[in-house]
Symmetry: C2
Subunit: 108 residues, 2 copies
């Protein structure tokens, strides 16, 4: 084992990836990405899961920084966190772009 520990970049990419690692959360993000109107109820209607579960997924996405929410009593409005969305886009782009295997395979 070498110098141990992971870089901040690796941790950040993994954090974003982990948040995106469930179809329901991908569906939520995709839904939010396509609009500017975005209430909890609308999101819930799009998904085949209970509202408690939806709320939990939203919480995880929020903690990962990919979305944000604001209360408009009695509703709650969610949307993409634009800044972190762009950061994630950049990090994933760099991550995939670093592969030397663009033209030739490594293994056979």
């Amino acid at each position: 084992m070498a110098n141990k520990d992971y870089t901040l970049n690796q941790e950040q990419v993994a954090r974003f990836a982990k948040a995106m690692g469930h179809p329901a959360r991908i569906a939520i993000l995709g839904f939010l990405a396509k609009q500017t109107e975005c209430y909890f109820g609308d999101i819930h209607e799009e998904l085949p899961i209970a509202k408690a579960t939806v709320s939990q997924h939203l919480k995880e996405l929020k903690e990962a920084g990919l979305i944000q929410g604001e209360v408009e009593t009695p509703k709650v409005k969610y949307c993409i966190n634009r800044e972190n969305w762009q950061l994630a886009n950049k990090l994933f782009g760099e991550f995939f772009g670093q592969c030397v295997c663009k033209k030739e395979s490594c293994c056979k």
Copy 2:
């Protein structure tokens, strides 16, 4: 709840993302992406975890299709699965690109 179920695209993105949702696996992918020589021992040396755990992470990455391995007794050579790497790159690019929040925020 609407039409239920997730699309194949959503499932695939989530599957790739889930596989990338751990710093050790991000480190492994990053390491592999930068070379054409890539034996288990080299990967293990880069990581702060036991070989059994490394082997397990490699298995997950292989099952997700992001890497592939071939035995060169007594060693095992791993590398990026070029085809799926490019697919992942494409899917993530499209995913992040679909956001309408490129120039204006949705929420305040």
